[in-house]
């Protein structure tokens, strides 16, 4: 590189940088470091990374099998072609808040925007700053493989009209700060209910069975997270489990939650983990799903 030897290039770079700083400063720049933590709390890396040794994080490729077909998480590195390098912050906020692509088409709700819509503006900006800081990767996206007629994106308008309420999380003033923080971690960032709340035949979570567990489409069981089941475990047991993936008797959790534990729950700060547990202990107890 001739940066050091070419004052013109260096000057240009400095100018560009200054412009950036000025621009971003005016719009309240997101904090990439906070964004990294939020990305962990949101478990983004899971769906946006291939399931193989040596896969590049956030470069996309994870398959998500559903009754409607198989979805593949896209590349969200700042690559100009393969990733989201051409997006603006507003594009990102629109995707997360409203489930819309930059061109205005709907995302399929396999992308859990019904949860992510609850993320606050400030957090979205930090997340965006973090995503911009990743190294671009040119891994091309795998097209979704959907059953007829679920590949029609306009159908998602109907789904959204029925089931989707956009808007950031509103803290409940009647509840303590810790419970509100827990609710935010569980419902907005952590999107726990995407697996732990059973779905109806159109793939929308049944609100009457919030976090009550049941079965995933592939028949795998998902545990009940309401106090009906959690009351059998102490805070210490639950914390150990969410940090290590192990139960007190040395049992090792299955890999799907194991991954969530590695990527997300073990990365939470102690106060956030406390808040998450306090919130789970406060939700309505529901009986186990009928087998």
């Amino acid at each position: 590189m001739s940066l050091r030897t070419s004052p013109a290039a260096a000057g240009l770079l400095l100018f560009a940088l200054l412009c950036f700083v000025a621009l971003d400063g005016a719009l309240a720049q997101g904090d990439a470091k906070r964004g990294q933590y939020l990305a962990k709390a949101g478990g983004c890396v899971g769906c946006h990374t291939e399931d193989r040794e040596g896969a590049v994080a956030f470069a996309g490729g994870r398959a998500l099998k559903t009754p409607f077909g198989t979805f593949y998480g896209p590349n969200i590195t700042p690559d100009q072609k393969a990733g989201i390098g051409r997006w603006s912050e507003a594009d990102f906020i629109q995707a997360m808040r409203h489930g819309l692509r930059p061109d205005g088409a709907n995302y399929f709700p396999a992308f859990p925007y019904p949860s992510f819509t609850k993320i606050t503006d400030a957090d979205l900006k930090d997340l965006w700053a973090y995503l911009r800081s990743l190294s671009p990767n040119a891994r091309a996206n795998t097209p979704h493989d959907l059953r007829f007629p679920f590949g029609w994106r306009w159908l998602v308008w109907i789904w959204k009209w029925l089931f989707f309420t956009p808007g950031p999380f509103q803290p409940d003033p009647a509840k303590s700060g810790i419970l509100n923080r827990g609710a935010y971690l569980v419902d907005a960032l952590g999107h726990c209910g995407e697996c732990h709340t059973p779905r109806n035949f159109l793939g929308a979570p049944k609100s009457s069975r919030y976090l009550a567990g049941g079965k995933l489409p592939d028949g795998k069981g998902v545990p009940n997270l309401t106090p009906t089941r959690l009351k059998k475990m102490s805070d210490k047991d639950l914390k150990d489990f969410l940090q290590t993936g192990q139960t007190p008797d040395g049992d090792v959790v299955a890999e799907s939650m194991g991954e969530v534990i590695r990527n997300t729950t073990s990365q939470l700060t102690p106060p956030d983990l406390e808040a998450l547990l306090a919130y789970l202990r406060s939700v309505a107890p529901l009986p186990e799903e009928k087998k």
Partner: protein, 151 residues
């Protein structure tokens, strides 16, 4: 009967009895045995996982002993997944027998990761041990993912 003939007959008889015993192990007994192996794997793996995650202080001696135990244990459960145990009450999923190829792969993965752990434990390289504990944990979870009823 000469002594040699008696010895051979005796040996054959013993062999037959032993084989018979193996073949006839009752399904409920096999389930109990393989569950005992799982329990012991947990017993020896647990502290190593705790050390890898910095929850308990690292102790190279404990790791070396536990890793050696785990390597042996990692080979013991599998003949307990005999088809005759399908009807027994346990968390084993039918996929164990329906997708026996995949099950065997998962088993071999644990065996080889556990063997690797025993090796690095002997080398005493703390960083390598901690990384390998993670690999063993993943191979446990990988098998539980597809072949065990979620609890």
């Amino acid at each position: 009967m000469n002594n040699k003939l008696a010895a051979v007959t005796f040996a054959l008889l013993l062999g037959a009895v032993a084989l018979d015993a193996a073949a006839q192990a009752k399904p409920e007994v096999m389930v109990k045995q393989r569950q005992a192996v799982m329990t012991l794997q947990g017993k020896y793996f647990g502290p190593m996982a705790g050390m890898a995650q910095g929850k308990i202080p690292y102790n190279a001696q404990v790791v070396q002993r536990n890793a050696a135990f785990l390597e042996a244990l990692s080979k013991m459960a599998w003949d307990g997944f005999d088809p005759s145990t399908k009807g027994e009450k346990s968390n084993a999923l039918p996929a164990i027998w329906d997708k026996s190829g995949e099950f065997k792969q998962a088993v071999e993965r644990l065996e080889s990761e556990a063997a690797k752990l025993a090796q690095v434990a002997k080398s005493g390289d703390e960083g390598a041990v901690k990384a390998q504990v993670g690999a063993v944990g993943k191979s446990c979870g990988g098998c539980h993912e597809n072949f065990r009823q979620k609890q």
